[in-house]
């Protein structure tokens, strides 16, 4: 291949109306329009989707797996956010 290779794109497909877009894989393409067309040919040959997003992989900032615990720690000690934390007195319904 001559010159630098075309950039990497991450592909997200909405399987059906009402569902959210889900990451399905990645591909190389020189620009967004071709990335979209390639994504259609590569990831929806069997009508797997009704909508596609392509995002330049370089535009994604990811949290690092090493700092995962520390990063998500603040949520760990807030059990009172879950309804199961609360005791419901006997005889109470619709709560």
């Amino acid at each position: 291949m001559t010159g630098q290779s075309s950039p990497l794109w991450e592909v997200f497909v909405r399987a059906r109306r009402g569902l959210s877009h889900t990451h399905v894989g990645s591909l190389h393409a020189p620009d967004a329009e071709l990335a979209l067309r390639n994504a259609r040919d590569l990831y929806t040959r069997r009508q797997e989707g009704v909508s596609i997003w392509v995002v330049p992989a370089s535009a994604i900032t990811a949290s690092s797996p090493d700092e995962k615990d520390a990063f998500f720690d603040p949520a760990a000690d807030k059990v009172y956010r879950h309804p199961t934390f609360y005791e419901v007195p006997d005889g109470v319904s619709h709560l």
Binding site: L27, H28, L34, L42, S64, D66, K68, D69
Partner: protein, 354 residues
């Protein structure tokens, strides 16, 4: 079926394998939901953490720590798998223009296009391990990495397209279904996608052979001839016998590989016997017979000396396949250049307009 990857051989051939793919997919989700193992603690040994994740049947993801040998093994395996899908388009591509009907032509086109797609899913999975697409393509083009030897055999008649679908895609499925449970997340997910598509490949091949085998005497003879030529090379697709297989033990420990070459080969033989009977075609092995004690078929091993010869580059079509691939890549250079130039021009205009 979770935890015991395979259904017993008496299960319906196609349906059973698809069921296993779905079970693998369900297991992947279940393992992700179960035992929520966070990142290693600051003072925890990363290697122990890696082993923990694998023991829990969870997935290693691209940015996790992994042993260098694990990464290298996976890059090699996934890349060679991708190369096989790409080179694998050639033997059947040879028949697209000569398919006997418009329907068969459309089906074969779709099948070959799928194989291109498989190659691309797999290249993308390999790239998550830190190797670039260009490097991967170069490894194939200059022969530093191999592709499956099966594609170095010629497709002489239309029946070969049927035999490839039934036997070659069939063997590939038996090999690949356990990979849906591979410990490396991107590879496992790519394999789930691939396996779901493969079952159409196997069935269209089987249907071609079934039609021929129930046609004229000449058509039946053509089908039999194709099975005669593709049977042993298909058995060889599972690789050397367990005693000679070098990477197996480590790959098993890492849960990259789940079954030995011989186990998978046996499974394939057991599956094929009944399918051949329905076709009314003979498997070219005079020593093929049911072994009551083993509850499996005894069969003749493929010629491993021949396999080694083909791997070393001396099969019937090695040179042709490589030359074709190199030429196709070189002929496509202007398209890649034009697309890059167009993208650059548009980006420039956008920058000026902004």
């Amino acid at each position: 079926m979770y935890g015991n990857d395979f259904a017993p051989p008496e299960d319906a051939p196609g349906g059973g394998l698809l069921g296993e793919v779905e079970a693998a997919e369900a297991a992947l989700r279940e393992a992700a939901a179960r035992a929520r193992r966070g990142a290693p603690a600051p003072d925890e040994d990363v290697e122990a953490y890696f082993t923990d994740v694998i023991d829990a049947d969870q997935k290693i993801e691209p940015r996790d720590w992994m042993p260098e040998a694990y990464r290298k093994t996976l890059i090699r395996q996934i890349a060679q798998h991708a190369h096989s899908e790409i080179i694998g388009m050639q033997p059947e591509g040879n028949w697209i223009s000569r398919a006997p009907s418009l329907k068969r032509k459309a089906i074969l086109l779709a099948k070959v296009q799928d194989e291109a797609g498989h190659g691309l899913y797999l290249y993308a999975a390999a790239e998550t391990l830190g190797i670039s697409r260009d490097e991967l393509v170069d490894l194939l083009l200059d022969g530093r990495q191999k592709y499956s030897s099966i594609f170095n055999y010629p497709t002489l008649t239309w029946a070969d397209v049927g035999a490839i679908g039934w036997l070659v895609d069939g063997a590939a499925i038996v090999n690949q279904v356990p990979l849906c449970r591979c410990s490396y997340g991107p590879y496992a997910r790519a394999m789930i996608r691939v396996c779901k598509e493969e079952s159409f490949h196997q069935r269209q091949g089987y249907e071609i052979l079934h039609t021929l085998a129930h046609g004229t005497e000449a058509q039946k003879a053509m089908a039999q001839d194709a099975v005669d030529r593709w049977w042993y090379p298909s058995l060889a697709m599972f690789g050397p016998p367990d005693g000679d297989s070098t990477h197996s033990a480590q790959s098993m420990a890492w849960k990259i590989k789940r079954f030995s070459n011989d186990e998978l080969r046996q499974r394939f033989v057991d599956m094929c016997v009944g399918q051949a009977e329905v076709l009314g075609l003979r498997i070219p092995d005079p020593d093929l017979r049911w072994n009551e004690e083993r509850q499996a078929y005894d069969y003749t091993q493929p010629d491993y000396a021949e396999l080694m010869r083909v791997i070393k580059g001396n099969g019937p079509c090695n040179r042709e396949r490589m030359t074709h691939r190199q030429r196709a890549h070189a002929d496509g250079a202007w398209v890649r250049e034009a697309a890059a130039a167009y993208a650059a021009k548009r980006a420039e205009r956008k920058a000026v307009a902004a």
